[in-house]
Structure formats: structure tokens, C-alpha cells
């Protein structure tokens, strides 16, 4: 049976893994390649590396980190943060990424999604959507690390991404990010029922029970966690055992 994926996310800045609370207040959590391998050994199904400090000067550093990490990984590896052009995507794919994640640049120029899909296949294109609840049950997509509102409604934008060739949606709830108060199942369910492609729920993972909820109630295909895994607050084993106890298929033991 197809399993629900648990994805470890490494937010990288200046070559180090960091994790903030609600996109602010960053703390150091370690070396990206070392952490990726540790998560892989612990049973994570995929690794996502997001360069949250991405700028042109740092692009080369990122490519080096991607190469060093990819050399040691035998599971799917997604890289995002500051991917603005097909050439940016090419550089991280050449360094060993299996998928690239695009966010702000895809909103600014949606053709980027099809360009990357045409070059590498749809399975290589993950569109990240940072969504914030705007009251009356509507969610808006934000860009630039959550600093700028786009006016795009998150569900509509997810549908457009699918049409343009995205292979997966990485959906982050800005309201829940870093709070460990549980995933936003309402947001996840809306997007997951609107598109055919897999939806990765992100933002708010705190306890193993949160993952059960986001799969059952949010209909997510995968769920992503960062801080709780880095600081060892919860292990992949605990999450997967909890899933199996709730009859949710998980790759365990692995």
C-alpha cells in the first residue's frame, strides 16, 4: 500500500540549519549534510532543504551544500529557497537534488513552473505555498519568506500550479509554523481536495498525534517537520508507530 510520507525539513541559512518560530527568531540546529543523513538513518522518507537566506552571493554555498548532502542520501531530496530561474533549478539538480521547490518566483512568473517541468519532468517540481488565514475561511498566499501578501487565494493558486505542471504542493500554514500546536487541517483539506497532485502539509508539527490528524482529517499525502525532529523532541519512529497504530500506512521499519 502507498504509505504516508514523513519529510524532514532543513531550513538553511549561511550554511547552517536554523529554525525559527513563525518565520522569525532563528536558532542554530547544525550541519545540513550531517542532519540529513541522521534523519535518513532515523527513517525519514524524504529530505527537503530550504535556503531561507538565498541570495546571489550565497548561491554557490548552497550548491556546495546540496552536492555534499546528495552524495550521502539514498532517498528523495528536494531543494528550495531562492530558485528564480531555470538556471537556478539546473544548478541544484546538477548538484544532486531530485526535486526543486519554487515559491516567490513562481508567483511572480508562473511560467517558471512549466519551464522546470518541461526540462526535468513534473515529478521534479514542488511548488511551495505559504498560506495565512485571512478570516472568513479564506487563505492567502504570501511570498518573500512570508513578508509580502500576494492577494492570491491559496486554493486557486494550488489549482493553477497543478495546471502548469507542478508535481507536488508543499503547503505551509504560516499561522502554525514553528508553534508545535498541530497542522492546519482545514487549510490542508481544502487544498488536498482541490488538486490531484500530492499535498505535503507543513507548519505546526508538535506531537505524533498531529500527524495522524493531518492524514485523517486534512487528507495530506505527506507531512513535513523541522524543529521537533532537529531538537529530538519527537522521533520519526514515534511518529510512524503512532501512524501504524491508527491504521495509517507508513514505511516502518525501514
Amino acid at each position: 500500500m502507498l504509505t504516508k510520507r514523513i519529510i524532514a525539513c532543513l531550513d538553511v541559512s549561511g550554511g547552517r540549519v536554523v529554525k525559527g518560530v513563525q518565520f522569525l527568531g532563528l536558532r542554530d540546529a547544525g550541519d545540513p549534510a550531517e542532519l540529513a543523513v541522521a534523519h535518513c538513518e532515523a527513517g525519514t522518507d524524504e529530505i527537503v532543504l530550504l535556503d531561507i537566506s538565498a541570495s546571489h552571493e550565497r548561491r554557490k554555498t548552497l550548491v556546495d551544500i546540496v552536492r555534499r548532502t546528495a552524495e550521502q542520501l539514498l532517498i528523495p531530496f528536494t531543494v528550495g529557497g531562492g530558485i528564480r530561474t531555470l538556471e537556478d533549478a539546473q544548478s541544484v539538480m546538477d548538484a544532486g537534488a531530485d526535486k526543486v521547490s519554487v515559491n516567490s518566483a513562481a508567483i511572480a512568473r508562473p511560467e517558471l513552473i512549466s519551464e522546470i517541468a518541461n526540462r526535468f519532468g513534473s515529478q521534479a517540481v514542488v511548488v511551495a505555498i505559504d498560506a495565512k488565514h485571512e478570516g472568513n475561511g479564506s487563505y492567502d498566499a504570501f511570498v518573500n519568506g512570508g513578508r509580502r501578501k500576494t492577494g492570491l487565494e491559496a486554493v486557486c493558486w494550488a489549482r493553477e500550479c497543478e495546471t502548469r505542471g507542478a508535481g507536488e504542493i508543499l503547503l505551509t500554514s504560516m499561522d502554525r509554523d514553528g508553534t508545535t500546536s498541530g497542522f492546519d487541517c482545514d487549510l490542508t483539506c481544502r487544498v488536498a481536495s482541490a488538486v490531484q497532485i500530492p499535498v505535503i502539509a507543513s507548519g505546526g508539527a508538535g506531537a505524533p498525534a498531529d500527524f495522524v490528524e493531518v492524514f485523517q482529517r486534512g487528507h495530506a499525502d505527506a507531512a513535513l517537520a523541522a524543529s521537533i525532529l532537529h531538537y529530538g523532541r519527537v522521533t520519526i519512529a514515534e511518529i510512524k508507530q503512532t501512524l501504524l497504530q491508527s491504521d495509517i500506512p507508513a514505511r516502518w521499519p525501514c
Binding site: 532517498i75 528523495p76 544532486g96 519532468g121 497532485i197
Partner: protein, 199 residues
């Protein structure tokens, strides 16, 4: 051990290369048909549209791959590379596959989300050199929208909305629908089996 990975502009080859390097192989990524003459193993990877496989015939790669297979060189098709071994695919009905295995690749039924992305289990169907020491029920990583029928050559199946061929083999020709290069230790074991003297 010289592993040639055939580059026909269908997806990223770095991960496949990386996995074979880990096994100690010498790896050549090539789009030159003549270079295949020096290969001990040939890998046809590929993601994307079935129509991409048309370039294999057009560039002369197909003829050289089949020549090598006739000499006894083991061939591994991954994902689209495996689907190419069949007669055709609904994805591009006008393009003919190699026809080494009978049948047409079909889209997943509409009852399930498509593409099929993630870790799914292998159900072993027959003794297989490629899957030697791989446990029944092992998890491997898939990402595809079309799937191959079950034939006499099917060595493992997987289930997603329907049962489909996850691995096929016929003599020195091997195909896997999943990505062994992304399937953890199980995948690495399968690639190691392919590199070992399996024929």
C-alpha cells in the same frame, strides 16, 4: 565495472550516477551510441513523457543498446526506461516501445490520485536475480502516472488503484518501475545485484 547511463534528455541523471558510484562502479553518462560499446552494464533511466523514448530510436542509441544486449550486456530500465520495454503506452499511442514485453502501459484508474508518488511495497512474484535478498513487502520509491501490465516477465508487483508490474526481467534485460537510486538500502541492494555477475 563500467556502467553506462543513457542520456536521452529525459530527466536528471545525477542521482542514478551517484548510486552507482557508491557501489564502486565507473560511471559514464552518454548520449553517444558508440560509447555503449565499452559498457559492462547499460542503464536507461528516465522520467517524463513516453514520447521522449522516440529519441532513442532516432539517435541510434536503441540499435546500440540492443546490440549490447545481444552480446550479453545486462540492461536496466528505470521508470520510463522500463515502460519503453513494452509495446506501447496510452501516454503516447503513436510511439512504439521496444516490444520486448507484451502489452500497453496504462494510466492509473481515476479512483486514485495520480501521479502515484511515494513509498510503496513490492510483492515478489518469482525468483529473481535482480531482487535477490530483497524481502517480500520491502518499500521502494515510486513517482509515475502510467503503469505497466503484468506479464510472464513480471518479477514483482505493487498495488495502487490496481496491481501493476513493479519489476520485470527477461534474460539479461531488467526493468523497475520504482527508483532504486532513491529507495534507501533496498534500492542500493537491487543496484548491487544488477552490478554483480547476474547473467
Amino acid at each position: 565495472m563500467n556502467v553506462a547511463i543513457v542520456d536521452y534528455r529525459a530527466g536528471n541523471l545525477t542521482s542514478v550516477k551517484q548510486a552507482f558510484l557508491r557501489l564502486g562502479a565507473t560511471v559514464t553518462i552518454t548520449s553517444q551510441a558508440d560509447e555503449l560499446a565499452f559498457a559492462d552494464r547499460i542503464v536507461v533511466p528516465g522520467v517524463g513523457h513516453f514520447s521522449n523514448t522516440a529519441s532513442l530510436a532516432a539517435t541510434g542509441l536503441q540499435a546500440k543498446i540492443l546490440e549490447a544486449v545481444d552480446r550479453g550486456v545486462p540492461l536496466l530500465g528505470i521508470c520510463l526506461g522500463m515502460q519503453w520495454f513494452f509495446q506501447s503506452s496510452q501516454e503516447a499511442p503513436a510511439i512504439r516501445g521496444l516490444g520486448l514485453m507484451e502489452g500497453e502501459c496504462e494510466h492509473f484508474p481515476s479512483a486514485v490520485k495520480s501521479p502515484h508518488v511515494g513509498w510503496n511495497q513490492l510483492e515478489l512474484r518469482s525468483a529473481s536475480p535482480l531482487l535477490r535478498d530483497v524481502q517480500d513487502g520491502s518499500y521502494v520509491y515510486f513517482t509515475h502516472s502510467f503503469c505497466a501490465p503484468i506479464t510472464a516477465e513480471t518479477s514483482a508487483v505493487s498495488e495502487y488503484g490496481r496491481t501493476f508490474s513493479a519489476a520485470v526481467e527477461c534474460g539479461n534485460i531488467f526493468g523497475v518501475q520504482f527508483h532504486p537510486e532513491k529507495s534507501g538500502r533496498t534500492g542500493l541492494k537491487i543496484l548491487a545485484n544488477f552490478c554483480a555477475e547476474i547473467c
